[in-house]
Symmetry: C2
Subunit: 425 residues, 2 copies
């Protein structure tokens, strides 16, 4: 039996193979149309290069940095709000990364009054309001409390908001969808601190306030605070980065990023929400009938193919690995399906382990691109059974321009010259 004949038939139209095909014999090995003939070349003689004729530089800096050849791997879509100092956002270049951890240096940012330069020795967290005993915690004190570590995504409620525009913006995957990142967060369960202060019976909400000049504030239901919410002190092993709330931030797994208040310095226990600017005029969902949905906290299930994606260019026709990210504020990802024919047929993608709750899940599948125009799409289902909507369904009841909580299926159009564009599929 020849190598070629071992290859399975596609499981969906336009060249999508079984999700585990890459790891079976016969695909990814030499053979007509296989990836081998397209990428590997017969052996060249190994010549001595400039970098191995002499010893290299010595041990790295005390704190290392990427190769100088990777200087184009940077935050993208930097937008500063006019007339403000330090308000705006920037995004993670999703299409340049792999795996599920976002390097802290490339975590998305969204600030409302710049990044405060906080001296941790002078910073304190106050818990007061409807509590038996108001308490204050220094960073040093909090660092002695029991901590938990979990890998969670953090997504801005406004991520992908540009996708509600009448025409699809021609931007990269990161520029369009990069207000989301995934980190290992370590911190103290908020439950422990609230129990120590002692919640009084009328305490039903928390008002969390940041120490930035905006004193950015959000109302948080007590139930979430007593569930999986942590006061995060560490991000990807080290202390929080300044732009991620150094020296401490709230972290509400799965909920819109704005609620995970950065530079946290005050929690007031109240009997009702405060109706702050950022939970009324912003981070709320204006409907086509003129009403507004408030307190729509969890981020919906979604996925995006990061490779191939808009702004990149295909190589020669042949075998490719389609790779992307899926996540849900409701829990774990159960399934991701890929279409290469604009949604007419679907093939199940392979999910990388571990599949974690409220975390990025990396998915991969094998695709034989024949060089013809194709539309790639992905759709995710989470453990609650929720599936990503089409853009048409998602937009049906929205007021024009209402772009929060956008989680519709994303489509990438591949032209026969290899160009890839963002389309409304």
């Amino acid at each position: 039996m020849s190598r070629q004949s071992e290859r399975s038939a596609p499981v969906a139209e336009n060249g999508l193979f079984d999700r585990r095909q890459f790891l079976k014999a016969g695909l990814g090995t030499a053979g007509a149309g296989g990836i081998g003939l397209l990428s590997a070349t017969p052996a060249l003689s190994q010549t001595r290069q400039t970098w191995n004729r002499f010893p290299g530089r010595g041990l790295s800096e005390a704190y290392g940095s990427p190769s100088r050849y990777e200087s184009d791997v940077a935050r993208v879509g930097i937008s500063a709000q006019k007339g403000t100092n330090g308000s705006g956002g920037c995004r993670t270049p999703l299409e340049l990364l792999h795996g599920i951890i976002t390097p802290s240096g490339l975590h998305f940012e969204r600030h409302h009054s710049g990044i405060p330069d906080i001296d941790p020795a002078k910073h304190q967290l106050l818990i007061h309001g409807h509590v038996k005993q108001p308490l204050t915690f220094s960073v040093e004190a909090l660092n002695r409390y029991p901590m938990v570590s979990r890998i969670y995504f953090l997504e801005c409620g406004g991520n992908s908001g540009v996708m509600v525009a009448p025409e699809p913006a021609q931007k990269t995957c990161g520029e369009l969808h990069g207000l989301v990142s995934n980190s290992e967060w370590t911190g103290v369960p908020l439950k422990l601190l609230l129990e120590e202060a002692g919640i009084e019976p009328q305490g039903k909400w928390l008002i969390a306030e940041g120490a930035d000049a905006a004193l950015m504030s959000r109302s948080i239901p007590l139930e979430k605070a007593m569930d999986d919410t942590i006061i995060a002190l560490y991000q990807n092993g080290e202390r929080l980065r300044p732009e991620n709330g150094y020296p401490m931030r709230l972290l509400l797994p799965g909920w819109e990023g704005n609620m995970s208040v950065k530079w946290l310095h005050r929690i007031k226990v109240t009997d009702q929400p405060a109706m702050t600017k950022d939970e009324t005029s912003r981070y709320s969902d204006l409907q086509s009938d003129g009403s507004t949905l408030l307190f729509t906290y969890p981020m919906g299930v979604r996925s995006v193919i990061t490779n191939p994606s808009a702004g990149l260019t295909m190589g020669a026709p042949g075998l490719y690995q389609i790779s992307g990210l899926a996540w849900s504020g409701a829990g774990k990802i159960r399934q991701v399906e890929i279409s290469a024919d604009g949604g007419k047929s679907w093939a199940e993608a392979d999910l990388e382990v571990p599949v974690l709750t409220k975390s990025f899940t990396r998915f991969n599948t094998a695709w034989q691109w024949d060089g013809s125009p194709s539309t790639l799409m992905s759709r995710a289902v989470d453990e609650t059974g929720a599936m990503q909507p089409t853009r048409q369904v998602l937009m049906a009841n929205r007021a024009p321009g209402s772009g929060y909580h956008y989680n519709a299926i994303v489509g990438w159009r591949i032209e026969n010259n290899g160009e890839i564009r963002n389309i409304y599929a």
Copy 2:
């Protein structure tokens, strides 16, 4: 029932509580001897600080960096070999980090001829020897292959080698044991490339060679190459750091770090090992009878308490979280036990999820320190049932000064003035 009376009795001598006690009611909440009275203070008035009276700085650099207040969180134990340029090592400051991911900027280093400055556009991987078709892969070509992502530890075979000295070195946890780090690695399964080249029947070993000036080389059994070995291109989401083998390295999960050849540029398939310098005179285990164990590849099961640990100082007596890391080259960690009385009694620690194969596992447990001199120890068991040996057992058959593959139980001595020292427990 008062808060205090809800607290469970210790499960081992000298104040060790049940592993989940911190998350139960009654511990970590206000009460005599509880952590609350030791760390939280009654509420102070929140004063405006310099950092929230004016807007902060704008969006971060394109690639961010830690807070200026964290400049002491750096690689430690930097040792350059005399008379060489770029040979030596430096270590991860384990006691300053939390969670399981090591920031790439703090990954340990061990080089044999410095860090080559490789232009990825000119770098190639050659696979030749006993293969049907020798092949060469550019970085760009390899990046199109199917990839997998996994969180794995990487540990130098010489980690903790100083622990075989007659007297315990008075260094920090990172200086003693920090030639180990844990990252998410993404790369191409080596199996795919070897299948594409086609292994001939006499091919049983691989000689892997780096593109540094030392052309550092190791022999690798074909079985491991066809198992979970990858050619890693990404580390913690982004391309490999220069000191970690940019643009590509071998990654042999669970095996001594030296075999995961950095700056990989050549794999030769052979019928026998090459007996290179780094697998004969080095990275081998000299025994007390004069014989040497070669090819002792997997790193043994081990654990270390990172907090409290040598060089740190205890605060006031009271409740503490003991936290540390465990790992094994043979698979997952099954159990970690803690002793606070020098090994006479043991309490099971809580393992943070997810518990991954050949990865750091974070463990935590609650400890009531009464202020008296105490010896903390941890011992790990992996899924094969292997348990960390005592130092006495580990040293029994070793030649003096033979420090590779040191995985004995570590002991920290806490004095009544709060000082913490490294001891041979």
